[in-house]
């Protein structure tokens, strides 16, 4: 609960109203802790109603039994046992769920690494090279332009570009660089990663930029005065101070990619397994408990990754 509010606060300062300043400005007889509760209350209620309670239901349903057309509210581990079917018998080969998660994690890692790299330098440029606030603002807005169209359209727009007879292939063939169209441009891991990076780099840029603009410029000057090279300043001053932004951006990207099945489906030609896809197939077959069980597994794994990340960087302390 605390963490998520911190994340929101960090991602867009001022989103949670009144923390700090309002309290000081208007003295009141109500105890400060009561006011804090009042301020956190609405968010807490929303969180409770739209996240915690549904989540509890998902966990409960994941332990129900089911048949072709209904949920049977009797305790059953079938959703889980079906999911891990044959996992032990198949060793050392991976079973379906194992392969699916290896693939999902692989895509997730690639997308994370690339968006972090691009996002970091875009944020760096915006924070340190663009001097005027107006330009900073203007360029940040420029980053949001792709978001003016729908997710699906941005994704589908790649298809005529990367296809067998697409712009890229026909261009390459015409210039004589290749004889046959490149098949791996579309409906491959490459196209999936490309589309995901295109879609989500922005989620890295914003929090990292946010952390970077808060860095006291005099620290950088001090480093420079102390004789540090640009690289040393980057490694010893900027990166440590931008860490909270990096972690928050990473959490955004990782949670989205772990749960994604639409982009992976469309760009992967429906041939690449994704954890979210298994859930979708199960729901479509009306096997809700099995879908819920897979959702719980996905949540647990994502949660594990995020816990590990917040071990590396204590966001609360850094803020």
């Amino acid at each position: 609960m605390d963490t998520s509010e911190d994340i929101l606060q960090q991602a867009s300062p001022g989103l949670i109203p009144g923390s700090g300043t309002a309290r000081a400005a208007k003295p009141t007889r109500l105890s400060p802790s009561f006011i804090s509760w009042l301020q956190a209350g609405p968010m807490m209620l929303v969180f409770l109603a739209f996240f915690l309670i549904p989540l509890v239901f998902v966990v409960i349903v994941s332990f129900w039994d089911y048949n072709e057309y209904q949920l049977l509210p009797a305790f059953s581990g079938r959703g889980y046992t079906d999911t891990f079917e044959g996992c032990i018998a198949q060793l050392p080969d991976l079973c379906t769920i194992g392969r699916t998660y290896v693939m999902t994690l692989k895509l997730c890692f690639m997308v994370w690494a690339i968006t972090l790299f691009i996002g970091f330098w875009v944020a760096y440029f915006l924070a340190f090279h663009v001097k005027s606030k107006t330009w900073q603002m203007g360029l940040s807005l420029l980053c949001t332009i792709p978001f003016w169209t729908s997710n699906v359209i941005r994704m589908i727009a790649w298809i005529p570009l990367l296809g067998r007879n697409g712009l890229v292939n026909s261009g390459l063939v015409k210039t004589g660089l290749i004889n046959h169209p490149l098949e791996w441009l579309l409906f491959s891991e490459f196209s999936v990663v490309l589309a995901l990076v295109h879609l989500f780099t922005f989620f890295m840029v914003v929090p990292i930029f946010n952390s970077m603009v808060r860095i006291d410029k005099s620290l950088i000057e001090a480093a420079y005065d102390a004789g540090a090279t640009g690289f040393q300043t980057l490694v010893n001053v900027i990166i440590p101070l931008a860490k909270p932004g990096i972690v928050i951006g990473s959490i955004f990207v990782i949670t989205i990619v772990m749960g994604d099945f639409i982009t992976i489906g469309v760009m992967g030609g429906q041939q690449i397994a994704a954890a979210g896809k298994i859930i979708e197939t199960r729901v479509n077959a009306l096997q809700f408990p099995a879908a819920a069980a897979n959702a719980v597994i996905l949540l647990a794994i994502t949660f594990l990754i995020i816990t590990m990340m917040s071990r590396i960087v204590d966001i609360k302390k850094e803020l």
């Binding site: 072709e68 057309y69 296809g163 007879n165 030609g269 197939t281 077959a285």
Partner: protein, 429 residues
């Protein structure tokens, strides 16, 4: 004093807002049933849940003109239609769904069987549905969930399918078709005559099937049988061993790079074909028409092993009664009376009552669509756009040839759960 008043006002307003919100929630969730009925007591309104196949503005406009019934379409994919029947049976009045869903819908008790005696044209419904044969007497393949297996119920509230005709009909048939592979003749450049071509290494990286497990596996089974590897007792109701075998063949092909992509919806299949990413794939008839209307050669290729067929029809939600039920009968009767049937025939589908549809079509249209004859004049789609020039012949020929060539029907297997798990494995392979 003023301060207090204001506070009171605020709290009252907040309270009102809260109540209104709650009422809205309740209405939205369907908890307050009957709510919309009050308003629509005079205007005859039916909420019509279905896939987009039968749903057309022209049909609803004509229906309003002829009967005064206003149709409100609720469009969803086949899977979502089923989900909605299970979880929100009060959110629709008339249900338009496929016969194979009945294995799930009927036991759920959420749909109401219609009374055959109240359907005027019931006796004129094509024998495809009632007897499993064409009007010309050709026997139709009965593998899978063939409509005549699930057409009747034992009683009004029965959850069991009757083996012989009763007056309680699960779905009043509306539309059906025989599906096969779509090909790009301009890129393949040779005749294609068997389902086995889907896995022919010649088309490596250029083939596709649909990623809807219950339909995809039927297409896969047609392929396996065509290659001579195995002969199924019932492709639409496989044993676990048969599912394993089918998925093994498909997995090997997938690992060898046979498939360019799988598709999930109409537009995806059109794009794959139109862009030349694939040259042979499972396809639906209107998708083939769509590719052709883009000026790209595409054939809905008849194959020697026959077609995989599907059929859909009408029933009503269990919550429908009284006047509303009468309107539902009126609507179904109107639907079978010809206008809608002719409209569907002109889209390349088939209507359930042939005689009434024929009366609403021009003789040359009937000859082209139903008798497999060369078009005397240009063939136009219901919206007036040109489909085929004069002289063209429909893929697969006449109604007799196409429906007579059906080998199996879309199905929900007894081992559906196992099949879905195996399908996931295939995708992950």
């Amino acid at each position: 004093m003023t301060e207090t008043t204001r506070t009171k006002g605020v709290s009252r307003r907040t309270l009102l807002k809260g109540t209104a919100g709650l009422a809205g929630l309740a209405a939205g969730s369907g908890a307050i049933t009957g709510f919309p009925y009050v308003k629509s007591a005079d205007a005859k309104v039916l909420r019509y849940l279905g896939t987009a196949v039968n749903e057309g503005d022209d049909i609803s406009k004509q229906c309003l003109k002829d009967t005064g019934i206003k149709i409100e379409y609720i469009t969803a994919t086949t899977d979502d239609v089923t989900k909605r029947v299970m979880t929100q049976p009060n959110s629709f009045d008339v249900l338009d769904t496929e016969y194979f869903s009945l294995k799930k819908l009927v036991p759920s008790g959420n749909i109401l069987a219609l009374d055959a005696r109240k359907i005027k044209e019931f006796d004129n419904i094509t024998p495809v549905f009632t007897k499993g044969q064409t009007p010309g007497g050709k026997k139709i393949g009965n593998q899978g969930t063939a409509p005549w297996k699930v057409l009747y119920l034992e009683g009004k509230d029965s959850k069991k399918f009757a083996t012989s005709a009763t007056e309680f009909v699960t779905l009043i048939p509306t539309v059906y078709n025989a599906d096969t592979l779509g090909i790009r003749p301009d890129l393949i450049k040779r005749p294609i005559s068997s389902w086995s071509e889907l896995l022919n290494p010649e088309f490596k990286g250029k083939a596709s099937i649909l990623n809807i497990p219950s339909i995809g596996i039927m297409d896969a089974a047609m392929v396996v049988e065509a290659t001579g590897k195995y002969k199924y007792a019932d492709k639409g109701n496989m044993t676990k061993e048969e599912i394993d075998l089918t998925m093994k063949v498909m997995t090997e092909a997938k690992k060898a790079g046979q498939f360019r992509a799988f598709w999930k919806d109409f537009n995806e299949s059109v794009n794959l074909m139109a862009s030349g990413e694939t040259v042979i794939q499972s396809m639906w008839s209107p998708a083939v028409t769509k590719v052709r209307s883009m000026g790209i050669a595409c054939t809905f290729q008849p194959l020697k092993e026959g077609y995989r067929s599907w059929a859909s029809g009408f029933c009503v939600s269990k919550g429908v009664s009284g006047a509303k039920l009468e309107w539902a009968y009126e609507f179904v009767n109107w639907f079978l009376s010809g206008y809608a049937g002719a409209y569907l025939n002109r889209q390349g589908y088939y209507s359930a009552v042939l005689s009434t549809a024929k009366a609403h079509m021009e003789p040359y249209e009937w000859a082209y669509w139903m008798e497999g004859k060369a078009a005397e004049k240009d063939i136009k789609a219901p919206d007036g756009s040109l489909l085929e020039k004069a002289g063209a012949v429909r893929d697969g020929g006449s109604y007799e040839d196409r429906m007579g060539g059906v080998a199996c029907w879309n199905a929900v297997m007894d081992e559906n759960d196992y099949m879905v798990r195996k399908w996931n494995e295939f995708i992950a392979a």
